[in-house]
Amino acid sequence: MANLSLTKTPMPEQDPNIRNRNFDEVALGYTEEMAKEEAARCLNCKNRPCTSGCPVNVRIPDFIAQIVDGNYEEAYKIITSTNCLPAVCGRVCTQETQCESKCVRGAKGESVGIGRLERFVADYHMAHVTEDTPAIEKNGHRVAVIGSGPSGLTCAGDLARLGYEVTIFEAFHKAGGVLVYGIPEFRLPKAIVQREVENLQSLGVEVRTNFVIGKTMTIDEIFEEGYEAVFIGSGAGLPSFMGIEGESLIGVYSANEYLTRVNLMKAYLDNYDTPIRKSHSVAVVGGGNVAMDAARTAKRLGAEHVYIVYRRSEDEMPARAEEVHHAKEEGIEFMCLNNPTRILGGENGEVRSIEVISMELGEPDASGRRRPVAISGSEHEIEVDTVIMSIGTSPNPLIRSTTEGLDATSRGCLVADENMATTRPGVFAGGDAVTGAATVILAMGAGKKAAVSIDKYIKEKNS
């Protein structure tokens, strides 16, 4: 019997005023009953618009039908036949602009909670099933994957399942890329990422941490070691600054540095040596998901006031509505239509305040959003002791500057065709390294596509 409720079955969450003081996960996940109730909202449409909205084409109505029948492990198999990181995607995917945006139920009321159901299935599997490593026959061909973020993990997993001997090279001391250094514990517990990495290792994927391609070894040297193809999934990790006065004052961070100290280096735990600023008032500059993550992290570290300073209005914010909602619930103060003009410091060289200028919205710009225009003479100061710059990142030049024949755009993104092949034979690329900063699921989709292309490339070369 279909559930005709117009709204999603609510997912339990930690109380905002408790969770803004801990790093435990915010959303607690569905119980079996809730999952079945929500699954019953799916109409199992014939033409499956949701699946076409998924970058990795998860067979959504099929897995949801299995939940209705209580066959959770079957649902898991359906999801993982095209998506190797369901516990991650169920949490951080932007379903509202992808699968859920196409859901027929969304025409009147809320779409089916596809992301929540995916998460339920993945969590149920992790809690109840011990992974059996499938016996995979190795084909004797070696592939190198650079970077262990979403695109690299996906590409490596798909290739390993096809029998390739895959080595992942990771610059940091821990695998996971943005999933471990960027996205906070309270949105994506690191134990889940660790489990996904271990699953890959049980498939025979070798993970070599502390290995910076472009420095420790070049792509040419990777080929010399006997690898037949390379996938570059090195992401977009280079932080941008505004270029305004005061950005080198003590207390100014890039969001990357702030989040890495807390997420990867565990500055919030006493038994780790990593230092982080003890802030009273924090201004986070930017309106994306990373800005929300940084703001909510600062709040959890004890800041009394955390402001989001964003030059456009809330309607133009690139962050997910859910993240904005969570941030507001947790007491983050939004100061939209304000653009920083300079950061002011005290005698000790530490941040004292940030000066912003009020903005108003003018005509639409190239992005289709209304262009923010400064209101002259409206500069005013906000008293803060910490400023976190979260205005975007771009791809790291380390690889392209050390690899002949690898073309990049003027913005530093690697050039790759529709099959993820770069301008250098045998070298493929995908994810943020190609697109510039985007989403986890788009990177995974690119990693998947690249795995297919690499398989084809190696087979053709050896035939």
């Binding site: 610059a171 940091f172 001391h173 941490t209 502390n210 290995f211 910076v212 420095k215 420790t216 070894m217 990790g237 280079l238 932080p239 600054f241 270029g243 950005e247 080198s248 003590i250 961070y253 890039s254 990357n256 540095e257 890495t260 100290r261 280096m265 565990k266 038994n271 780790y272 040596d273 990593t274 230092p275 600023r277 003890k278 000790n348 060289g349 790291n396 030049p397 380390l398």
Partner: protein, 286 residues
Amino acid sequence: MFKIVSKRQLNEAVTLMDIEAPYIAKKARAGQFIIFRIDEYGERIPLTIADTDPEKGTVTIIFQAVGTSTIALAKKNEGDYISDFVGPLGNATEIEGYKNVCVVGGGVGCAIAYPSAKALHNAGAHVDMIAGFRNKDIVILEDEMRAVSDNLYVTTDDGSYGEKGFVTNKLQSLIDAGNKYDLVIAIGPIPMMKFLAEVTRPYGIKTLVSLNPIMIDGTGMCGGCRVTVGGKIRFACVDGPDFDGHEVDFDELMRRNAYYKAQERESASHPCRMLASADEAVKEDK
């Protein structure tokens, strides 16, 4: 895991270690650095590479035990392992095309000045070296530096060894004596580098300094190591670590490096690294 192959105490506070890291040993050039992490709970600490042995596959690091991680590292012994060791990071020191160079090291900075001097010496340059220390007890690497320089001048603040005085005075006297250097490399505490750059500025002698700001990843990702050079923000990890000493905003660098000193004092009651080196330098250069 990375094995400590050998360990040698150079003075009471300064330790030399050879770490097994064959890929880095093969690749590293003078001026580049590594980042180590002692265990799961440790920080990522950058250290400039002092030497390499590509055949043995070892990388030599020399460090002063003054922060949480370096104190812990100094307690490790031959045969022990540390969890992480990554590199070679940063750009190599430019050595091509110089004929007459003066390399200046201050204190433990000599460990970084030494490989640069060696690379220049091997490239055929005439190399004078000035190595400054507070006193006789902390002199390090004297034989090594002598072997790669045409003239080695050791100075001590108190005159207990070599010439009494500061490296700035010595460089000034060498310039006054008619030495025509086409490059000066200065490596040591920040105030020492700052004042050395002032010695060479009037003569327009190109002066390179090696900066070691706070950083996390060492690949351009965190931006924590940003320094102002010629009015522009640069990342020491990918744009450096060597910069034109006449362009660096040393005062800002000193403030930024002191960023976490209060917290570090809290976390362990030990003398802070930056304070120690700053004090040392102030003594050297006052």
